[in-house]
Protein backbone atom coordinates (compact mmCIF):
# COMPACT_ATOMS: atom_id res chain seq x y z
CA UNK A 1 0.00 0.00 0.00
CA UNK A 2 2.88 2.33 0.82
CA UNK A 3 3.86 2.38 -2.84
CA UNK A 4 0.40 3.30 -4.17
CA UNK A 5 0.20 6.41 -6.39
CA UNK A 6 -1.82 8.43 -3.84
CA UNK A 7 0.66 7.68 -1.06
CA UNK A 8 3.52 8.69 -3.34
CA UNK A 9 1.80 11.95 -4.28
CA UNK A 10 1.18 12.71 -0.57
CA UNK A 11 4.79 11.90 0.24
CA UNK A 12 6.04 14.17 -2.52
CA UNK A 13 3.70 16.96 -1.40
CA UNK A 14 5.00 16.62 2.14
CA UNK A 15 8.59 16.90 0.89
CA UNK A 16 7.69 20.02 -1.09
CA UNK A 17 6.54 21.72 2.09
CA UNK A 18 2.87 20.67 2.17
CA UNK A 19 3.25 19.03 5.57
CA UNK A 20 4.57 20.02 8.98
CA UNK A 21 8.32 20.06 9.74
CA UNK A 22 9.39 16.47 9.38
CA UNK A 23 10.47 14.17 12.19
CA UNK A 24 13.55 12.08 11.39
CA UNK A 25 16.03 9.75 13.06
CA UNK A 26 18.78 12.37 12.65
CA UNK A 27 16.58 14.96 14.39
CA UNK A 28 15.95 12.55 17.26
CA UNK A 29 19.68 11.98 17.78
CA UNK A 30 20.41 15.72 17.53
CA UNK A 31 17.81 16.65 20.15
CA UNK A 32 18.80 13.70 22.30
CA UNK A 33 22.40 14.91 22.44
CA UNK A 34 21.72 18.65 22.68
CA UNK A 35 18.82 18.42 25.12
CA UNK A 36 16.89 21.11 23.20
CA UNK A 37 13.18 21.00 24.00
CA UNK A 38 10.83 19.76 21.27
CA UNK A 39 8.64 22.48 19.76
CA UNK A 40 4.91 22.42 20.54
CA UNK A 41 3.09 20.12 18.15
CA UNK A 42 0.06 22.35 17.65
CA UNK A 43 -0.54 26.06 18.17
CA UNK A 44 -2.53 27.61 21.00
CA UNK A 45 -4.47 30.42 19.30
CA UNK A 46 -7.36 32.70 20.25
CA UNK A 47 -10.88 31.60 19.44
CA UNK A 48 -12.26 33.49 16.44
CA UNK A 49 -15.88 34.61 16.12
CA UNK A 50 -16.55 32.68 12.94
CA UNK A 51 -15.37 29.60 11.06
CA UNK A 52 -16.42 27.77 7.90
CA UNK A 53 -16.71 24.51 9.83
CA UNK A 54 -16.90 23.84 13.58
CA UNK A 55 -16.18 20.27 14.67
CA UNK A 56 -17.30 19.33 18.17
CA UNK A 57 -15.11 16.62 19.70
CA UNK A 58 -11.30 16.50 19.51
CA UNK A 59 -10.90 12.76 19.19
CA UNK A 60 -9.74 10.63 16.26
CA UNK A 61 -12.98 11.23 14.34
CA UNK A 62 -13.11 15.00 14.78
CA UNK A 63 -9.40 15.49 14.09
CA UNK A 64 -9.41 13.14 11.09
CA UNK A 65 -12.38 15.06 9.64
CA UNK A 66 -10.51 18.34 10.10
CA UNK A 67 -7.31 16.86 8.64
CA UNK A 68 -9.00 15.54 5.51
CA UNK A 69 -11.05 18.75 5.07
CA UNK A 70 -7.73 20.61 4.94
CA UNK A 71 -5.64 18.12 2.94
CA UNK A 72 -8.17 16.68 0.47
CA UNK A 73 -10.51 19.66 0.04
CA UNK A 74 -8.50 22.76 0.96
CA UNK A 75 -11.00 23.83 3.63
CA UNK A 76 -8.80 25.20 6.42
CA UNK A 77 -10.96 27.76 8.27
CA UNK A 78 -11.95 25.00 10.67
CA UNK A 79 -12.10 24.82 14.48
CA UNK A 80 -12.05 21.59 16.47
CA UNK A 81 -13.56 22.12 19.94
CA UNK A 82 -13.12 19.81 22.90
CA UNK A 83 -14.44 20.32 26.42
CA UNK A 84 -11.37 18.59 27.87
CA UNK A 85 -8.15 17.85 25.95
CA UNK A 86 -7.52 16.20 22.58
CA UNK A 87 -7.95 12.42 22.77
CA UNK A 88 -9.46 12.55 26.27
CA UNK A 89 -12.54 10.50 25.37
CA UNK A 90 -12.80 7.18 23.58
CA UNK A 91 -9.71 7.92 21.44
CA UNK A 92 -7.46 7.50 24.47
CA UNK A 93 -9.51 4.82 26.21
CA UNK A 94 -10.05 2.17 23.54
CA UNK A 95 -7.98 -1.00 23.31
CA UNK A 96 -6.31 0.14 20.05
CA UNK A 97 -7.39 -2.84 17.97
CA UNK A 98 -7.98 -2.54 14.21
CA UNK A 99 -9.55 -5.08 11.83
CA UNK A 100 -11.94 -5.28 8.88
CA UNK A 101 -13.54 -8.74 9.20
CA UNK A 102 -17.10 -7.49 9.64
CA UNK A 103 -20.35 -9.20 8.79
CA UNK A 104 -22.19 -7.03 6.26
CA UNK A 105 -20.74 -6.12 2.83
CA UNK A 106 -21.27 -2.42 3.70
CA UNK A 107 -19.35 -2.80 6.95
CA UNK A 108 -16.50 -4.80 5.40
CA UNK A 109 -15.91 -2.24 2.62
CA UNK A 110 -15.98 0.61 5.13
CA UNK A 111 -13.62 -0.82 7.75
CA UNK A 112 -11.25 -2.16 5.09
CA UNK A 113 -10.76 1.35 3.72
CA UNK A 114 -9.94 2.45 7.26
CA UNK A 115 -7.40 -0.35 7.66
CA UNK A 116 -5.68 0.64 4.42
CA UNK A 117 -5.45 4.26 5.64
CA UNK A 118 -3.96 2.98 8.92
CA UNK A 119 -1.45 0.95 6.89
CA UNK A 120 0.08 4.05 5.30
CA UNK A 121 -0.58 6.40 8.22
CA UNK A 122 2.96 6.53 9.64
CA UNK A 123 4.20 7.71 6.23
CA UNK A 124 1.25 10.00 5.52
CA UNK A 125 1.40 11.77 8.88
CA UNK A 126 5.20 11.45 9.37
CA UNK A 127 4.58 10.12 12.85
CA UNK A 128 5.16 6.53 13.95
CA UNK A 129 1.72 5.21 14.96
CA UNK A 130 3.31 1.85 15.81
CA UNK A 131 0.96 -0.25 13.69
CA UNK A 132 1.58 -3.86 14.62
CA UNK A 133 -0.06 -6.16 12.06
CA UNK A 134 -0.10 -9.13 14.41
CA UNK A 135 -3.29 -10.90 13.37
CA UNK A 136 -6.70 -11.00 15.02
CA UNK A 137 -8.44 -14.13 16.27
CA UNK A 138 -12.11 -14.32 17.29
CA UNK A 139 -12.77 -17.53 19.24
CA UNK A 140 -15.92 -19.59 18.81
CA UNK A 141 -17.13 -21.51 21.88
CA UNK A 142 -20.53 -22.61 20.59
CA UNK A 143 -21.94 -24.07 17.38
CA UNK A 144 -23.88 -20.85 16.84
CA UNK A 145 -20.71 -18.75 17.13
CA UNK A 146 -18.87 -21.08 14.74
CA UNK A 147 -21.68 -20.67 12.22
CA UNK A 148 -21.38 -16.85 12.44
CA UNK A 149 -17.58 -17.14 12.00
CA UNK A 150 -18.07 -19.17 8.82
CA UNK A 151 -20.60 -16.64 7.58
CA UNK A 152 -18.22 -13.75 8.27
CA UNK A 153 -15.29 -15.58 6.64
CA UNK A 154 -17.27 -16.11 3.44
CA UNK A 155 -18.51 -12.48 3.30
CA UNK A 156 -14.91 -11.33 3.93
CA UNK A 157 -13.38 -13.61 1.25
CA UNK A 158 -15.91 -12.43 -1.31
CA UNK A 159 -14.64 -8.87 -0.76
CA UNK A 160 -10.98 -9.89 -0.91
CA UNK A 161 -10.33 -9.71 2.83
CA UNK A 162 -7.84 -12.20 4.31
CA UNK A 163 -10.10 -14.02 6.78
CA UNK A 164 -10.72 -17.72 7.45
CA UNK A 165 -12.01 -20.16 10.06
CA UNK A 166 -9.29 -22.20 11.77
CA UNK A 167 -9.33 -25.30 13.99
CA UNK A 168 -8.48 -25.48 17.73
CA UNK A 169 -5.12 -27.08 16.81
CA UNK A 170 -4.28 -24.08 14.61
CA UNK A 171 -5.43 -21.73 17.40
CA UNK A 172 -3.01 -23.46 19.78
CA UNK A 173 -0.19 -23.09 17.26
CA UNK A 174 -0.82 -19.33 16.90
CA UNK A 175 -1.31 -18.65 20.62
CA UNK A 176 0.15 -21.48 22.73
CA UNK A 177 -1.00 -19.88 25.99
CA UNK A 178 -4.67 -20.51 25.19
CA UNK A 179 -6.36 -23.53 26.73
CA UNK A 180 -7.90 -25.47 23.83
CA UNK A 181 -8.83 -28.51 25.95
CA UNK A 182 -12.35 -29.89 25.72
CA UNK A 183 -13.04 -30.07 29.45
CA UNK A 184 -13.50 -26.34 30.07
CA UNK A 185 -16.87 -24.65 30.58
CA UNK A 186 -16.64 -22.97 27.17
CA UNK A 187 -14.29 -25.12 25.04
CA UNK A 188 -12.73 -23.46 21.99
CA UNK A 189 -14.34 -25.02 18.88
CA UNK A 190 -12.51 -22.88 16.33
CA UNK A 191 -11.75 -19.27 15.51
CA UNK A 192 -12.09 -16.64 12.81
CA UNK A 193 -8.51 -15.69 11.95
CA UNK A 194 -7.82 -12.32 10.30
CA UNK A 195 -4.05 -11.79 9.70
CA UNK A 196 -4.32 -8.07 8.62
CA UNK A 197 -5.79 -7.09 12.02
CA UNK A 198 -3.58 -5.70 14.75
CA UNK A 199 -2.97 -2.89 17.19
CA UNK A 200 -1.91 0.78 16.90
CA UNK A 201 -0.72 3.37 19.40
CA UNK A 202 -4.01 5.28 19.67
CA UNK A 203 -2.54 8.49 21.17
CA UNK A 204 -0.13 8.75 18.24
CA UNK A 205 -3.08 8.71 15.82
CA UNK A 206 -4.67 11.63 17.70
CA UNK A 207 -1.41 13.59 17.78
CA UNK A 208 -0.61 12.79 14.13
CA UNK A 209 -3.95 14.08 12.86
CA UNK A 210 -3.82 17.12 15.16
CA UNK A 211 -0.31 17.98 13.98
CA UNK A 212 -1.19 17.53 10.31
CA UNK A 213 -4.39 19.57 10.60
CA UNK A 214 -2.71 22.32 12.65
CA UNK A 215 0.03 22.79 10.08
CA UNK A 216 -2.57 23.34 7.38
CA UNK A 217 -4.34 26.06 9.37
CA UNK A 218 -6.98 24.15 11.35
CA UNK A 219 -7.38 25.42 14.94
CA UNK A 220 -7.69 23.09 17.91
CA UNK A 221 -9.39 24.58 20.97
CA UNK A 222 -9.15 22.49 24.11
CA UNK A 223 -11.12 23.16 27.32
CA UNK A 224 -13.81 24.76 25.15
CA UNK A 225 -17.18 23.28 25.98
CA UNK A 226 -20.14 23.64 23.64
CA UNK A 227 -23.13 24.84 25.66
CA UNK A 228 -25.67 25.25 22.86
CA UNK A 229 -26.05 24.97 19.10
CA UNK A 230 -27.58 28.05 17.47
CA UNK A 231 -30.20 27.38 14.81
CA UNK A 232 -32.88 29.23 12.87
CA UNK A 233 -36.00 28.31 10.93
CA UNK A 234 -36.63 24.93 12.57
CA UNK A 235 -39.99 23.69 13.82
CA UNK A 236 -38.87 23.43 17.46
CA UNK A 237 -38.18 26.11 20.11
CA UNK A 238 -35.43 28.68 19.27
CA UNK A 239 -35.56 27.66 15.60
CA UNK A 240 -34.08 24.25 16.34
CA UNK A 241 -35.26 20.94 14.92
CA UNK A 242 -36.26 19.61 11.50
CA UNK A 243 -36.43 22.12 8.65
CA UNK A 244 -34.04 24.60 10.28
CA UNK A 245 -30.41 25.38 9.71
CA UNK A 246 -27.34 25.81 11.91
CA UNK A 247 -25.92 29.31 12.43
CA UNK A 248 -23.24 28.61 15.04
CA UNK A 249 -22.41 27.34 18.50
CA UNK A 250 -22.38 28.86 21.98
CA UNK A 251 -19.26 27.82 23.87
CA UNK A 252 -17.86 28.36 27.34
CA UNK A 253 -15.54 30.92 25.68
CA UNK A 254 -18.16 32.81 23.67
CA UNK A 255 -20.34 32.46 20.59
CA UNK A 256 -19.01 31.30 17.23
CA UNK A 257 -20.90 31.62 13.97
CA UNK A 258 -20.53 28.76 11.49
CA UNK A 259 -22.72 27.43 8.68
CA UNK A 260 -21.55 23.86 9.32
CA UNK A 261 -21.32 22.11 12.68
CA UNK A 262 -20.19 18.50 12.98
CA UNK A 263 -20.99 16.32 15.99
CA UNK A 264 -18.09 13.90 16.66
CA UNK A 265 -18.70 13.43 20.38
CA UNK A 266 -19.28 9.66 20.68
CA UNK A 267 -20.62 8.98 24.21
CA UNK A 268 -21.95 12.54 24.51
CA UNK A 269 -23.51 12.52 21.00
CA UNK A 270 -27.11 12.55 22.24
CA UNK A 271 -26.51 15.59 24.47
CA UNK A 272 -24.91 17.60 21.63
CA UNK A 273 -27.52 16.59 19.03
CA UNK A 274 -30.25 17.50 21.49
CA UNK A 275 -28.91 21.09 21.38
CA UNK A 276 -29.84 21.19 17.68
CA UNK A 277 -33.20 19.49 18.23
CA UNK A 278 -32.11 16.22 16.62
CA UNK A 279 -33.03 13.00 18.43
CA UNK A 280 -30.72 10.04 17.84
CA UNK A 281 -31.12 6.26 18.10
CA UNK A 282 -28.28 6.12 20.63
CA UNK A 283 -27.79 4.99 24.20
CA UNK A 284 -24.59 5.66 26.12
CA UNK A 285 -22.91 2.83 27.99
CA UNK A 286 -19.43 2.48 29.47
CA UNK A 287 -17.02 -0.23 28.38
CA UNK A 288 -14.60 -1.33 31.06
CA UNK A 289 -10.98 -2.18 30.33
CA UNK A 290 -7.94 -3.14 32.38
CA UNK A 291 -4.21 -3.66 31.96
CA UNK A 292 -1.74 -5.96 33.74
CA UNK A 293 1.87 -5.51 34.76
CA UNK A 294 4.32 -6.02 31.86
CA UNK A 295 5.81 -9.44 31.18
CA UNK A 296 7.84 -10.97 28.34
CA UNK A 297 6.01 -11.29 25.03
CA UNK A 298 4.01 -14.53 24.89
CA UNK A 299 0.74 -13.59 23.13
CA UNK A 300 1.46 -12.93 19.45
CA UNK A 301 -2.10 -12.16 18.25
CA UNK A 302 -5.18 -10.27 19.38
CA UNK A 303 -7.61 -12.75 20.98
CA UNK A 304 -11.35 -12.07 21.23
CA UNK A 305 -13.99 -14.21 22.88
CA UNK A 306 -17.62 -13.20 22.43
CA UNK A 307 -18.99 -15.91 24.72
CA UNK A 308 -16.61 -14.92 27.53
CA UNK A 309 -17.15 -11.17 26.95
CA UNK A 310 -13.46 -10.41 26.79
CA UNK A 311 -10.67 -9.52 24.41
CA UNK A 312 -6.94 -9.58 25.05
CA UNK A 313 -3.81 -8.26 23.38
CA UNK A 314 -0.25 -7.73 24.57
CA UNK A 315 1.27 -4.28 24.14
CA UNK A 316 4.77 -3.59 22.89
CA UNK A 317 5.71 -2.93 26.54
CA UNK A 318 4.48 -6.42 27.48
CA UNK A 319 1.31 -5.50 29.37
CA UNK A 320 -1.85 -7.48 28.68
CA UNK A 321 -4.75 -5.18 27.74
CA UNK A 322 -8.21 -6.55 28.49
CA UNK A 323 -11.45 -5.17 27.17
CA UNK A 324 -14.88 -6.31 28.35
CA UNK A 325 -18.37 -5.95 26.92
CA UNK A 326 -20.42 -2.79 27.46
CA UNK A 327 -22.35 -2.43 30.72
CA UNK A 328 -25.94 -3.73 30.55
CA UNK A 329 -27.58 -0.35 31.33
CA UNK A 330 -27.28 3.28 30.16
CA UNK A 331 -24.63 5.15 32.09
CA UNK A 332 -22.40 8.22 31.83
CA UNK A 333 -20.41 7.07 34.86
CA UNK A 334 -17.01 5.54 34.09
CA UNK A 335 -16.21 4.26 37.57
CA UNK A 336 -15.13 0.62 37.83
CA UNK A 337 -15.97 -2.01 40.42
CA UNK A 338 -14.43 -5.06 42.05
CA UNK A 339 -17.32 -7.12 40.69
CA UNK A 340 -16.33 -6.20 37.15
CA UNK A 341 -12.64 -6.94 37.73
CA UNK A 342 -13.43 -10.30 39.32
CA UNK A 343 -15.66 -11.36 36.43
CA UNK A 344 -13.13 -10.21 33.84
CA UNK A 345 -10.29 -12.05 35.58
CA UNK A 346 -12.38 -15.24 35.75
CA UNK A 347 -13.08 -15.12 32.03
CA UNK A 348 -9.47 -14.40 31.11
CA UNK A 349 -8.25 -17.29 33.27
CA UNK A 350 -10.72 -19.59 31.57
CA UNK A 351 -8.91 -18.78 28.30
CA UNK A 352 -5.36 -18.59 29.67
CA UNK A 353 -5.03 -20.47 32.99
CA UNK A 354 -1.26 -19.91 32.98
CA UNK A 355 -1.45 -16.20 33.85
CA UNK A 356 -3.18 -16.60 37.23
CA UNK A 357 -0.21 -15.06 39.08
CA UNK A 358 -0.19 -11.85 36.99
CA UNK A 359 -1.33 -8.65 38.70
CA UNK A 360 -3.64 -6.00 37.32
CA UNK A 361 -2.02 -2.58 37.07
CA UNK A 362 -5.03 -0.36 36.47
CA UNK A 363 -8.60 -0.27 35.23
CA UNK A 364 -10.58 2.36 33.34
CA UNK A 365 -13.70 2.82 31.20
CA UNK A 366 -14.82 4.81 28.19
CA UNK A 367 -18.27 5.83 27.00
CA UNK A 368 -19.74 4.00 24.01
CA UNK A 369 -22.57 5.43 21.92
CA UNK A 370 -24.48 2.27 21.05
CA UNK A 371 -26.97 2.06 18.17
CA UNK A 372 -29.72 -0.56 17.69
CA UNK A 373 -27.94 -2.23 14.73
CA UNK A 374 -24.32 -1.81 15.89
CA UNK A 375 -23.54 0.41 12.88
CA UNK A 376 -22.70 4.12 13.05
CA UNK A 377 -24.91 7.12 12.22
CA UNK A 378 -23.11 9.35 9.72
CA UNK A 379 -23.93 12.26 7.44
CA UNK A 380 -26.69 14.84 7.28
CA UNK A 381 -29.57 15.41 9.72
CA UNK A 382 -32.98 17.12 9.36
CA UNK A 383 -31.18 20.35 10.43
CA UNK A 384 -29.30 21.83 7.46
CA UNK A 385 -25.57 22.20 8.14
CA UNK A 386 -25.65 19.96 11.21
CA UNK A 387 -23.70 16.78 10.49
CA UNK A 388 -23.30 13.75 12.72
CA UNK A 389 -20.49 11.21 12.90
CA UNK A 390 -21.75 9.25 15.89
CA UNK A 391 -23.03 5.86 17.01
CA UNK A 392 -19.50 4.51 17.26
CA UNK A 393 -20.22 2.04 20.01
CA UNK A 394 -17.23 -0.21 20.53
CA UNK A 395 -15.73 0.17 17.04
CA UNK A 396 -14.98 3.89 16.71
CA UNK A 397 -11.18 3.85 16.86
CA UNK A 398 -10.73 1.42 13.99
CA UNK A 399 -13.08 3.52 11.84
CA UNK A 400 -11.43 6.88 12.55
CA UNK A 401 -9.49 7.46 9.32
CA UNK A 402 -12.21 6.42 6.88
CA UNK A 403 -14.84 8.35 8.86
CA UNK A 404 -12.76 11.51 8.69
CA UNK A 405 -12.13 11.05 4.98
CA UNK A 406 -15.80 10.40 4.19
CA UNK A 407 -17.20 13.11 6.48
CA UNK A 408 -14.79 15.65 4.95
CA UNK A 409 -16.01 14.66 1.48
CA UNK A 410 -19.66 14.87 2.59
CA UNK A 411 -19.09 18.39 3.99
CA UNK A 412 -16.96 19.69 1.10
CA UNK A 413 -19.06 18.32 -1.77
CA UNK A 414 -22.48 18.42 -0.04
CA UNK A 415 -22.96 14.89 -1.39
CA UNK A 416 -23.01 11.76 0.76
CA UNK A 417 -20.10 9.52 -0.34
CA UNK A 418 -21.12 6.01 -1.40
CA UNK A 419 -19.03 4.36 1.32
CA UNK A 420 -21.12 5.93 4.13
CA UNK A 421 -24.50 6.05 2.31
CA UNK A 422 -25.76 2.91 4.16
CA UNK A 423 -25.11 4.57 7.56
CA UNK A 424 -27.47 7.57 7.29
CA UNK A 425 -29.84 8.59 10.08
CA UNK A 426 -32.78 8.05 7.72
CA UNK A 427 -32.24 4.28 7.72
CA UNK A 428 -34.17 4.05 10.99
CA UNK A 429 -37.25 5.46 9.27
CA UNK A 430 -36.92 3.31 6.16
CA UNK A 431 -36.00 0.15 8.09
CA UNK A 432 -32.78 -0.45 6.07
CA UNK A 433 -30.70 -1.27 9.15
CA UNK A 434 -27.12 -2.55 8.79
CA UNK A 435 -26.97 -5.36 11.37
CA UNK A 436 -23.41 -5.74 12.60
CA UNK A 437 -24.11 -7.22 16.03
CA UNK A 438 -22.60 -10.55 15.02
CA UNK A 439 -19.24 -8.92 14.21
CA UNK A 440 -19.09 -5.75 16.31
CA UNK A 441 -20.32 -6.77 19.74
CA UNK A 442 -18.24 -8.68 22.24
CA UNK A 443 -21.09 -9.74 24.48
CA UNK A 444 -23.98 -11.17 22.51
Amino acid sequence: MAGSPTALIRKTKAKLGGGPPRYSAAGLVRRGLSGDPWPRVWRDVDLKSSYDVVIIGGGVHGLATAYYLATNHGITNVAVLDKAYLGSGGSGRNTAIVRSNYLTPEGVAFYDRSLSLYNTMSTDLNLNVMFSERGHMTLAHTDGALRTMNWRAEVNKLQGINSSVITPAEVKKLAPSLDVGTDSRYPILGALYHPPGGTIRHDAVVWGYARGADHRGVEMHQKTEVLDILCEGGEGPDGKGAGGRVTGVRTSRGDISAPIVVNCTAGWASLISDMAGVKLPIHTRPLQAAVTEPVKVFLPTVVVSGSLHVYVSQTDRGELVFGASVDPFNNYNVGGSLEFTEELAGHVLELMPGISKMRLLRQWAGLCDMTPDYSPVMGTTPVDGFYVDVGWGTYGFKAGPVSGEAMAEAIATRQTPKIIAPFGLSRFASGALVGEKGAAAVGH
Binding site: W268, K279, H283, F329, N330, Y332, F428
Partner: protein, 88 residues
Protein backbone atom coordinates in the same frame (compact mmCIF):
# COMPACT_ATOMS: atom_id res chain seq x y z
CA UNK B 1 -22.33 -4.06 42.38
CA UNK B 2 -25.29 -1.83 41.62
CA UNK B 3 -27.98 -2.01 44.30
CA UNK B 4 -31.36 -1.17 42.77
CA UNK B 5 -34.24 -0.14 45.06
CA UNK B 6 -37.08 -2.13 43.50
CA UNK B 7 -40.70 -1.96 44.76
CA UNK B 8 -39.94 -5.32 46.44
CA UNK B 9 -36.84 -4.14 48.26
CA UNK B 10 -33.19 -3.64 47.25
CA UNK B 11 -31.84 -6.04 44.62
CA UNK B 12 -28.45 -6.52 42.98
CA UNK B 13 -28.60 -5.39 39.34
CA UNK B 14 -27.52 -8.90 38.30
CA UNK B 15 -30.91 -10.19 39.58
CA UNK B 16 -32.58 -7.78 37.18
CA UNK B 17 -32.66 -7.15 33.46
CA UNK B 18 -32.42 -3.59 32.14
CA UNK B 19 -35.12 -2.78 29.62
CA UNK B 20 -34.43 0.88 28.86
CA UNK B 21 -35.98 4.32 28.89
CA UNK B 22 -39.59 4.26 30.05
CA UNK B 23 -41.70 5.00 26.99
CA UNK B 24 -45.32 4.50 26.13
CA UNK B 25 -46.18 2.50 23.05
CA UNK B 26 -48.25 4.39 20.48
CA UNK B 27 -51.49 2.77 19.36
CA UNK B 28 -50.44 0.45 16.49
CA UNK B 29 -53.73 1.11 14.68
CA UNK B 30 -53.31 4.87 14.48
CA UNK B 31 -49.54 5.52 14.82
CA UNK B 32 -47.75 7.10 11.86
CA UNK B 33 -44.56 5.38 10.61
CA UNK B 34 -42.54 8.26 12.11
CA UNK B 35 -44.17 7.87 15.53
CA UNK B 36 -43.54 4.12 15.38
CA UNK B 37 -39.90 4.68 14.41
CA UNK B 38 -39.47 7.12 17.29
CA UNK B 39 -40.91 4.55 19.69
CA UNK B 40 -38.72 1.73 18.35
CA UNK B 41 -35.35 3.44 17.97
CA UNK B 42 -34.98 7.04 19.13
CA UNK B 43 -33.88 7.79 22.69
CA UNK B 44 -33.44 10.83 24.95
CA UNK B 45 -30.32 9.29 26.51
CA UNK B 46 -29.93 12.03 29.15
CA UNK B 47 -26.91 12.48 31.42
CA UNK B 48 -28.94 12.90 34.59
CA UNK B 49 -32.29 11.76 35.94
CA UNK B 50 -34.18 9.33 33.75
CA UNK B 51 -37.24 7.16 34.26
CA UNK B 52 -36.45 3.63 33.17
CA UNK B 53 -37.95 0.16 33.05
CA UNK B 54 -36.30 -2.90 34.61
CA UNK B 55 -37.39 -6.54 34.74
CA UNK B 56 -37.19 -8.41 38.03
CA UNK B 57 -36.07 -11.93 37.13
CA UNK B 58 -37.04 -13.34 40.54
CA UNK B 59 -40.55 -11.88 40.85
CA UNK B 60 -40.93 -11.95 37.05
CA UNK B 61 -42.43 -8.48 36.79
CA UNK B 62 -41.56 -5.22 35.06
CA UNK B 63 -41.25 -2.08 37.17
CA UNK B 64 -40.03 1.49 36.77
CA UNK B 65 -37.51 3.51 38.74
CA UNK B 66 -35.77 6.86 38.33
CA UNK B 67 -31.97 6.83 38.10
CA UNK B 68 -29.36 9.51 37.63
CA UNK B 69 -27.19 8.17 34.78
CA UNK B 70 -24.27 10.38 35.82
CA UNK B 71 -24.13 9.30 39.48
CA UNK B 72 -26.19 6.05 39.64
CA UNK B 73 -28.47 7.40 42.40
CA UNK B 74 -31.97 5.91 42.40
CA UNK B 75 -35.36 7.24 43.54
CA UNK B 76 -39.08 6.53 43.35
CA UNK B 77 -39.38 2.85 42.42
CA UNK B 78 -42.97 2.23 41.41
CA UNK B 79 -45.12 -0.89 41.49
CA UNK B 80 -45.93 -2.38 38.09
CA UNK B 81 -49.04 -1.04 36.42
CA UNK B 82 -51.52 -3.42 34.79
CA UNK B 83 -53.00 -3.02 31.34
CA UNK B 84 -55.99 -1.21 32.83
CA UNK B 85 -53.90 1.33 34.69
CA UNK B 86 -54.31 -0.23 38.16
CA UNK B 87 -51.46 -1.09 40.48
CA UNK B 88 -50.80 -4.83 40.39
Amino acid sequence: MLLVPTPFGPRNASDLRYVGEATSRPDPDTATPEAWRDYLYLEHNPAGWMRETWYDRINRVYFQVERNTATNEFRNPTMPVTKHGKQA
